[in-house]
């Protein structure tokens, strides 16, 4: 479904990604793990069309989207839930959700998607008219995911969805991602929380200093000595 090959990304002279290749098959969860500054967010932002790659290809359903502007990428069906729960703080929960369905591809299905999102996150239904900025961290993350789903994406990239959330909420968010995946949503999950994301993922990649240094199925990486030492402290 999504195939990245030989991707190089620079910020000025600093190289953020070096010859990164990965593949996401339809209906899977692919985890990208790595330390802070390894290039995880750069990778997501480049696929989303926010950063431009210097070299390399990004193919979505056989179509090269490398360097395409972000609104085009969104309209093809690639959604992203950005790091740090970027909701519109002074807009109500309801308005936030509507904002997610402004794309031509999503407008027609707005009402149906809205019901689906509110069934998925019943908490949000109780707070529809409340400003998004007044929600708790976990609720904001739910809203950010819900708003993304309003755009009727086929593939969603989650950037650090567990960042700054209480452990029980983290479990909820990750369970939601798993449920969405079971309903057919293809997911790319970028996490520092390596143990959890590897358990969830069908396939995983380890990113270090902008390079993919390891890849395999989730269980394979969980059993890998290098991963255990570097990321799991074992």
């Amino acid at each position: 479904m999504l195939k990245v090959s030989g991707l190089d990304v620079f910020y000025g002279d600093a190289q953020a990604l070096d010859n990164v290749s990965l593949e996401v098959t339809e209906g899977s969860i692919v985890a990208i793990v790595g330390a802070n500054g390894a290039g995880k967010t750069s990778l997501i932002r480049t696929i989303a069309g926010i950063n431009r790659p210097a070299r390399g290809q990004i193919q979505f359903r056989g179509r090269d989207i490398a360097g395409a502007p972000s609104h085009k990428v969104c309209d093809l069906g690639i959604g992203q839930v950005a790091e740090g729960r970027q909701v519109f703080p002074s807009l109500s929960v309801s308005e936030n959700l509507d904002m997610g369905a402004m794309l031509p591809r999503a407008r027609a299905k707005r009402e149906r998607n809205r019901e689906r999102v509110l069934d998925l996150f019943p908490h949000l239904r109780e707070r529809l008219s409340q400003p998004a900025g007044t929600l708790s961290g976990g609720e904001q993350q739910m809203l950010a995911i819900g708003r993304c789903l309003m755009g009727a994406p086929e593939l969603v990239m989650f950037d650090e969805p567990s960042l700054g959330l209480a452990p029980t909420i983290v479990q909820q968010v990750l369970a939601t991602i798993r449920d969405l995946n079971r309903e057919g949503l293809t997911c790319v999950l970028v996490e520092q929380n390596v143990a959890v994301s590897l358990r969830l993922a069908g396939r995983a990649y380890v990113l270090e200093n902008g390079r993919i240094t390891l890849s395999g199925t989730g269980p394979e990486l969980l059993a890998d000595d290098r991963v255990r030492q570097a990321y799991l402290g074992m």
Partner: protein, 334 residues
């Protein structure tokens, strides 16, 4: 379109609006020449404030160089009239595209190369300054010694050439202000208004939900520049003289943004209320001081500063949201 205009507006707000409009329509028959001039200045700032508010209030792009668009509009229409005898109504057709081109260049440079926030504001100042220096040496329109429109005493007002009595200018600027208000209202309730709102709230998030932020920011700059250039034409034909040193000066750009800031950035009625408060109060104060035989130069600027200070500390979202609450009118997204 008309339905969209009035949708969700409380009856009380409609009544207040109708009352104000009626008062403004009747005003020239009630007030003296001095007050009429004050009202013209108030409406002029209400109009330019609304135009600026589209960029800053709606789309979140801070311009501190709106004097550029005033000046481009003013000089273009004045040059067409003085050199070729062409009516300002035709001059509009050149003035708007020229101002839009100026705005589009600034917007393109800034948004293409991701210049945001304070740096964007500095860019807008820089272009207004370029224009000031450039027009100082542009002898076809008088250079630094000024550009003058022919003035004579007119028995009847000539609307086609904008030559005439203050009353004509009053109704003209009133029409412009009302039109700008209608445009702003329609914009805010349409999809483009929502996109601007998303960009203003969080540009990254706006991009993440698939909004073409470059395009919609450009629309905001272009609309704001085009509307502001009309104010420039009004300025040229009302004052009849243009000096680059005055027209393009940064203090013009600052004066122009005071009304919307005091009234409430991003609100519909804020710029209009702000203009009434600011100009109304400063003229009142001037008159009182003058009555006591005190005439201090620069007292108006000091007063503006105090107003700004008061609003920033006491009502940081502007006076209008507070007044609206007191009147029981809730304006969305204020």
């Amino acid at each position: 379109m008309i339905g969209q205009m009035f949708e969700g507006v409380p009856a009380r707000a409609l009544a207040c609006g109708a009352l104000l409009l009626a008062a403004l329509l009747a005003a020239p028959y009630v007030v003296n020449d001095y007050l009429l001039t004050v009202l013209i200045i108030i409406l002029y700032y209400a109009y330019t404030g609304q135009a600026w508010n589209i960029m800053m209030g709606f789309a979140g792009q801070l311009s501190l160089g709106h004097a550029l668009y005033v000046g481009l509009g003013a000089y273009t229409a004045a040059a067409f009239y003085v050199h070729f005898g062409i009516s300002p109504w035709i001059g509009i057709l050149a003035a708007i595209p020229i101002a839009i081109a100026g705005g589009a260049i600034i917007g393109f440079l800034a948004f293409r190369f991701r210049v945001g926030g304070v740096y964007f504001a500095i860019l807008t100042i820089a272009f207004a300054e370029f224009a000031r220096v450039g027009f100082d040496h542009f002898n076809w329109v008088g250079g630094s010694s000024g550009f003058f429109l022919p003035v004579a005493n007119y028995a009847v007002s000539d609307l086609w050439n904008l030559r005439g009595k203050p009353m004509m200018f009053y109704y003209l600027i009133l029409a412009m202000t009302v039109l700008a208000f209608v445009i702003c209202r329609l914009l805010l309730t349409s999809r483009i208004g929502y996109f601007w709102l998303a960009i203003r709230e969080d540009e990254e998030a706006a991009r993440a939900i698939g909004i073409d932020t470059f395009r919609y920011k450009m629309y905001a700059v272009i609309l704001s520049a085009g509307m502001t250039s009309l104010a420039g034409i009004f300025f040229a034909f009302f004052y009849n003289n243009l000096f680059p040193e005055q027209v393009f000066h940064i203090s013009r750009s600052i004066e122009l943004i005071l009304a919307p800031i005091i009234g409430g950035v991003g609100t519909l009625f804020g710029p209009i209320l702000g203009a009434f408060l600011l100009t109304g109060l400063s003229e009142t104060m001037h008159a009182i001081l003058y009555g006591f035989g005190i005439d201090i130069p620069g007292v108006k600027q000091v007063f503006y500063g105090l107003c700004l200070l008061f609003v920033v500390i006491v009502l940081p979202h502007g006076v209008w949201p507070w007044v609206a609450r007191v009147l029981g009118i809730k304006e969305r997204r204020s």
